[in-house]
């Protein structure tokens, strides 16, 4: 079934309060690193993504929707300049797959790239009920670093999620065009 970003909107105010709380406490306890839950954003292996990381964090749901219309419904599978950046989800998976003990971690594992953040944000995705969650080892396959980078606590300045951003994102996420 579709990519339903069930961003529980009624939870958003709490999340924002949470962010504000963390922000306040971080001023009080500046320098402390053990505040609140940590989000571990695994490092990817490709050279670069289609947008800077900060943009990808915010806009990837819209990009995925856009790309799936291009690839599936219109049959367009590469960039206009001919470069082979496949718009299908497999390209995302190929770069962002995480290895643990030399094996790719699957979608039921909290270390999976997508899960690592979505679990924290309470956003349930069902992309991987149909899509393959790990690389297949095809020719499009990139070498994987499998290393992890800790971004520390979710603090203003690392993630700049403002009320305005939420207002901007939410209508797109809720749009019926899925």
């Amino acid at each position: 079934m579709g990519l339903h970003l069930n961003l529980s909107l009624h939870k958003l105010p709490f999340m924002l309060v949470g962010v504000a709380f963390i922000a306040t406490s971080s001023i009080v306890n500046a320098g402390q690193s053990e505040l609140g839950p940590r989000v571990t954003i695994p490092e990817s292996s490709g050279d670069k993504c289609i947008l800077p990381a900060s943009e990808m964090r915010r806009r990837h749901p819209d990009l995925l929707k856009h790309d799936r219309i291009q690839t599936l419904r219109e049959g367009l599978r590469a960039n206009a300049d001919g470069s082979m950046l496949d718009g299908s989800l497999k390209q995302c998976v190929n770069c962002h797959a995480i290895k643990s003990d030399d094996k790719y971690v699957r979608i039921d594992n909290n270390e999976h790239f997508c899960v690592s953040c979505h679990k924290y944000a309470a956003v349930s995705i069902d992309c991987f009920q149909c899509h393959r969650d790990i690389p297949e080892g095809s020719s499009n396959f990139h070498a994987l670093s499998g290393t992890k980078k800790h971004y520390g606590n979710v603090l203003p300045g690392v993630y700049t999620l403002t009320n305005k951003d939420v207002a901007n994102i939410a209508p797109e996420v809720r749009s019926d065009d899925n």
């Binding site: 579709g2 419904r73 219109e74 049959g75 206009a80 300049d81 989800l89 998976v93 393959r132």
Partner: protein, 257 residues
């Protein structure tokens, strides 16, 4: 993967003559068959698959189609196997055999009167006027500009209207949670699926898997291009479409049925 119509235990058994009429329709008496052994020569086509770029949208100037020569002594099960491998099918663990997904089946038919029997591969016929597209309430069942009929699983709600509408029984429903899909064919529980003419391969300049496995018994090409191999063969030898009486104008043509 094989439907044997003569199987007495088959609860779906249809009386032979009516099944034959069901499949071959009212044009059955036209008697247009090509002699066994007529070779389907590979002629120089105008535009080949590799002329199409990954960065081009599917275009309605093209209509992809297939021509199946059933007079060739080919083990059609090889095509079924190739299809299953390409799309990662047959990985259900809880479903009954008749629930498992089939993109392509081998149908055996026998004329009880004359004893003549034959088998033919039947996949989604990629109808021009596709009933599965007409009935879909969500726009999930769709026809691409180049004539390939597919299910957009992002929109499919699993209502299965399209399965009922399809006269070729080409569609399957996934009844259970799947894992380990192939990266090119996402598929999962609650969605309907069918042969997509290996759209992932076509967009990549490759032939569909069953065409490759058919040892030349299935010809793939552009029906809109009079210079293509398939158009030339159709112009020269003619063809039959299954249930042509329904006027769905399938993109899959047959010779020898």
């Amino acid at each position: 993967m094989t439907i044997n119509i003569d199987d007495k235990n088959n609860e779906n058994q249809v009386e032979e003559s009516s099944r034959r009429n069901f499949i071959f329709g009212s044009v059955a008496a036209a008697g247009l068959t090509i002699a066994p052994g007529v070779m389907l020569y590979q002629t120089a086509g105008a535009r080949s698959l590799s002329d199409f770029s990954l960065s081009e949208k599917a275009s309605s100037n093209v209509r992809w189609g297939m021509l199946v020569d059933t007079t060739k002594q080919v083990d059609w099960n090889k095509c079924v196997e190739a299809c299953n491998k390409e799309h990662g099918l047959n990985n259900e663990t809880h479903s009954r055999d008749d629930q498992k997904t089939q993109y392509i089946r081998v149908v055996n038919v026998k004329n009880k009167g004359t004893g003549y029997s034959m088998s033919l591969p039947v996949m989604c016929q990629h109808c021009e006027n596709a009933p599965c597209v007409d009935v879909c309430p969500t726009g999930a069942s769709m026809k691409r500009a180049d004539g390939i009929v597919l299910v957009d699983r992002h929109r499919c709600i699993g209502c299965r209207y399209c399965m009922m509408a399809c006269p070729y029984k080409a569609r399957s429903f996934v009844h259970e949670v799947l894992t380990d899909q192939t990266e090119n064919t996402p598929r999962g529980k609650g969605c309907v699926e069918s042969c997509n003419m290996c759209v992932n391969r076509i967009d990549n300049g490759q032939l569909p898997a069953c065409v490759e496995a058919s040892e030349g018994a299935i010809i793939f090409g552009d029906l809109n291009d009079p210079q293509s191999d398939i158009s030339q063969l159709l112009a020269k030898h003619g063809s039959r479409q299954i249930r042509a009486d329904l006027k769905l104008n399938p993109g899959v043509h047959y010779q020898g049925i």
